[in-house]
């Protein structure tokens, strides 16, 4: 919080300096390879949709009623009315599966690009896309720009938000993101993919993983282990 306050004081100077400097500085990820590359791996084969991650996130990040930084979308490949290949019934829960819906932590983040005030920014040290709520004007440009529809206005503070891997609430204290620490089924793995010895890097190396809409060129940092359909 402190550096922001002093920024507020140095406003005039700051904005002039940014104007003069051409401000290409919002995207340090351009110099990729340096620094950590935090990723989140969501294992669809393990997630049972219990929702502990959602609750943990709301609590850790003090979210007001009615908004969330992450949610689970329940999906099904079943043809409605057809018999389940696994249990033989027409009504069952066999093939339910969940997809984690949250900020994909793009390396090329459209939200950071369009934000007129720099409130949506990439943290220099960790490369994580996060928010400086004090700067957010509530213009909703980032919400329109995010291809994953995972930004929202916090109904209490009236500023935009996204999942930032708990950067501001827990990571700074050396703790894991709240959702990861609360998942009882090991469906979430968080870590630095640029460290080849990390668990997440080893998983990424051996598992079949996928990302959402990779063709958009946003380079998301959230990876998924999808349930492979038996009939494929």
């Amino acid at each position: 919080m402190l550096p922001r306050r002093s920024l507020l004081k140095g406003l005039g100077v700051g904005s002039v300096a940014m104007l003069a400097g051409g401000c290409g500085s919002t995207d340090p990820a351009a110099e990729a390879g340096e620094g950590p590359n935090y990723v989140l791996l969501f294992d669809q084969t393990k997630c049972v949709g219990c929702g502990r991650c959602e609750d943990a996130c709301n609590q850790a990040n003090n979210l007001p009623e009615g908004v969330a930084r992450l949610t689970l979308e329940r999906q099904s490949d079943r043809v409605p009315g057809a018999v389940c290949p696994r249990c033989g019934k027409t009504e069952c829960n066999c093939d339910r599966k969940y997809v984690r819906v949250s900020c994909q932590q793009c390396d090329n983040a459209p939200c950071v690009m369009v934000c007129p005030t720099g409130a949506a920014y990439r943290d220099e040290k960790t490369g994580i896309v996060t928010m400086d709520g004090d700067k957010c004007a509530g213009c909703k440009y980032c919400i329109a720009a995010c291809p994953y529809k995972v930004r929202f206005i916090n109904s209490e503070t009236k500023v935009a938000e996204n999942c930032d891997f708990c950067l501001q609430s827990r990571l700074a204290k050396g703790e894991l993101p709240a959702c990861v620490s609360q998942c009882k089924f090991d469906a979430l793995v968080f870590g630095d993919a640029s460290d080849p010895k990390s668990y997440v890097a080893r998983l990424l190396a051996v598992k079949n993983t996928a990302r959402v809409k990779p063709h958009l060129g946003t380079e998301p940092s959230v990876h998924y282990i999808p349930i492979a359909k038996p009939e494929v």
Binding site: S15, E73, V99, R100, P110, K149, R151, P226
Partner: protein, 314 residues
């Protein structure tokens, strides 16, 4: 694709609702009206303060202020507007637009005040301002050139603003700024013309009006061509673009497009001027009806692009 995706999101489906369309509309009228009047002035080497220039000055200042009001009221908290004025991100189209508007808005006021200084001098309260206005009037020509550039930039910027949204195939096209410039010019010209005739005593058939009238049809033809290019770009695009062509054929937004954008913006003006006979086409009624329908057509275009654009996503 690799089979992993989600369709639910965490925010509202429509991030930018109708006030933004109204803002795009006002900004287009403002930039278009002033650009047309200044082009006319430069083209005809005018030195006097014509009714068209006075009208365009008033129109562009009033509309851009109303537009700003829409923009501010649409913020999640209107009291946050100062943050946009203090913090800048030069990668952001919106931030660049703020910088343009910061110069454009006062300049529209100056241009209008110079053109109207005869009228303003009648108010005794404004006496102290007059020497300043005279001084500004001495630098008129460079100020007008600068304003002309900024006016066109304002029209273009509203297009860039929404074309930067990569997930919407209908609006994520480099055509949009060009389309917004021409539609801004035609609607802005219509508005300035009507105000000039109604309040500044311009005659319906003056040389300027005839010239503008002649320029209108080519501008509209270019606009129609851009719309067609937008459409064909979608048809020949990839899957999601093709799917988005539904916006032109199904549901309420397609009626807005065909009835509002095409009907009011193109068909009705053509009918009023060519189908109902020379005599009617030259009447005052045809003049106001045509202007009104062109302006409504432009509003419908902004609404259609913003809503249909945000509904059809990648």
């Amino acid at each position: 694709m690799n089979g992993i995706d989600f369709s639910t999101g965490l925010g509202d489906a429509i991030a930018w609702p109708w006030p933004i369309a109204v803002y795009l509309f006002f900004a287009g009228i403002s930039g278009g009206a002033l650009a047309i009047a200044l082009l006319m002035r430069i083209y005809k080497k005018q030195t006097q303060d014509t009714p068209l220039l006075k009208a365009a000055g008033v129109v562009s200042f009033v509309t851009i202020c109303l537009g700003m009001l829409c923009l501010v009221l649409d913020l999640s908290n209107p009291l946050f507007f100062w943050k946009i004025l203090l913090y800048y991100n030069l990668n952001s189209v919106m931030s660049l637009g703020v910088i343009v508007l910061l110069f454009y808005i006062p300049l529209t006021a100056v241009i209008a005040a110079i053109a109207l200084r005869g009228e303003l001098a009648r108010f005794p309260q404004l006496k102290p301002l007059m020497p300043w206005l005279e001084r500004l009037a001495a630098m008129r020509s460079p100020l007008e050139w600068l304003t002309l550039v900024l006016a066109v930039s304002v029209c273009a910027y509203t297009g860039f603003l929404i074309s930067a949204l990569i997930r919407f195939p209908i609006i994520n096209t480099s055509l949009l700024p060009a389309l917004f410039i021409v539609s801004g010019l035609s609607a802005g010209a219509a508005m300035a013309k009507m105000v000039a005739v109604k309040w500044f005593g311009e005659s319906l058939h003056s040389e300027e009006m005839t010239l503008l009238h002649g320029a209108e049809w080519p501008i509209m033809a270019v606009e129609a061509m851009f719309l067609f290019m937008l459409f064909s770009g979608l048809i020949f695009g990839t899957g999601p673009s093709q799917a988005a062509t539904q916006a032109f054929s199904q549901g309420g937004w397609s009626s807005l497009f065909w009835g509002g954008v095409i009907g009011l913006g193109f068909v009705l003006p053509l009918m009023l001027n060519f189908a109902l006979g020379q005599k009617f086409a030259h009447s005052g009624r045809a003049f106001y009806l045509t202007g009104g329908s062109v302006i409504c057509g432009m509003m419908c275009l902004r609404l259609f692009l913003l809503y249909a654009g945000q509904i059809y996503t990648i």
